[in-house]
Amino acid sequence: MLTKRIIPCLDVDSHGRTVKGVQFQGLRDVGDPLEMALRYQEQGADELLFLDISASHEGRETMVSLVERLSEVLMIPFTVGGGISSLQQVLRLLSAGADKVSVNTAAVQSPSLISEIADACGRQCCVLAIDARFWKRTDRPVWQVLTRGGRTETSMDAFLWASQAVELGAGEILLTSWDRDGTRSGFDLELNRYFSDNLSVPVIASGGAAGPQSFVEVFAEGNADAALAASIFHDGEYSISQLKDVLHNAGIAVRVL
């Protein structure tokens, strides 16, 4: 049967280094993305996500050259995102060797970007990233879309946006809980379950990863198809193979090496 995927996320700065945000202290260098990617691949990561957090011209160039080097050595799929706003950028990243791209703010501003990518490259290449924050409870729970890395509020219902994006051609939804992101208090199970049960494409849960048990929960109760995390892997609290052992023992189907 199809297994649940574990996806480490690497935030890459304009110098081509992996960084992580530290509260009130800005960014800390945590390593070389190529070395980290190889380590995660070795440990059994199912895919990798690289985010250009600089959203600058320099950062875009750095990312293209990193993607070229990654594609030589990675034997698993990888996605690239962060500041992607045109089909031209997408084509450049895919031809450099990325398997998929993720789009976020630019797709909110111009939803046709999703159909342009899907038409030109296939929907399997197009991941829509949504930053969602709890909004209100009507006859169902409603989450609000945030853009620009959580800095800008919109009046969009995140679930309706995801549904529209799937119709436009998004092949997967990368769903980040803005209520949980960075808290290490576990994934938002209600959010993930609502999206996963009501969408016809895979949902990648993000935001709130804590101990291995939080992954068991997001798969068993949140019905997510994949789960993404950064710091817990970068900090080496546990390896991906240790995490997968826990998942396997809990009866969750995962790829074990």
């Binding site: 049967m1 199809l2 297994t3 649940k4 995927r5 691949q41 199912d46 594609s71 030589e72 050595v73 034997m75 698993i76 799929p77 895919l94 031809s95 060797g97 398997d99 490259c121 296939g122 929907r123 399997q124 290449c125 092949g171 997967e172 969408l199 016809s200 494409v201 895979p202 198809d225 994949a226 790829r255 090496l257």
Partner: protein, 203 residues
């Protein structure tokens, strides 16, 4: 086919998306290859093994092969016993028809249709466990991205199956033809080993 002539793999450049990934996989495995079929490239030869990496739609791949005048040479070398490895849509077009592209004929080397996956989430995206139908093949996890699957009319061509709310054809192997629905080039060490094993069996 003599062994010196077959020590080079022909990769059909049909202008599709995963060509680069497949070439990088061959580089990692140190399998010597040349791209064939596009302008200013060698023509498809019936003296060398052939790899067709296919992504996109059934009709899209058939059209691109037709535009490059590759359909007839491909069909005749498949029938002549030239070793062939097809990936993804490179498996599907071996069959007669596909629900994805009504009215478009496939290469019709193998009898049977290609049909849409009946599952709650389509496309299937991710790692699935494949189990061999033929002796002495290892089972393992491989990476799939597909909305359609082949339904071979002759079950003896099945090489691997997997489960996605239904059991489906994950790979076929019949005489000179090997084809996989998944992406070995993205399937870690296990997928790379499959490509290498195939190459060593034909070169």
């Amino acid at each position: 086919m003599n062994s010196s002539a077959s020590s080079l793999l022909q990769v059909i450049d049909y202008g599709g998306g995963n060509l680069g990934s497949v070439c990088r996989c061959l580089n990692r495995l140190k399998i010597p290859y040349q791209l064939v079929g596009a302008e200013e490239q060698p023509a498809l030869s019936d003296q060398l093994p052939v790899l067709l990496p296919g992504v996109g739609s059934f009709s899209g791949l058939m059209e691109k092969l037709a535009q490059r005048n590759l359909l007839e040479p491909l069909q005749s070398l498949l029938k002549a016993g030239v070793p062939y490895l097809g990936i993804c849509v490179g498996l599907q077009i071996l069959f007669e028809v596909s629900e994805e592209s009504p009215g478009v004929a496939g290469l019709s080397i193998l009898p049977g249709p290609v049909q849409k996956l009946k599952a709650s989430k389509v496309p299937q995206i991710g790692w699935n466990y494949i189990e061999p139908c033929q002796m002495e093949s290892p089972s393992g996890y491989v990476y799939f991205v597909n909305s359609y699957v082949a339904h071979p009319a002759e079950p003896q061509v099945l090489w691997y199956t997997a489960e996605y709310e239904q059991r489906f054809c994950a790979a076929i192997r019949h005489q000179n033809i090997t084809a996989v629905q998944f992406h070995p080039e993205k399937s870690g060490v296990f997928g790379h080993q499959m490509v290498l094993d195939w190459w060593q069996s034909v070169c």
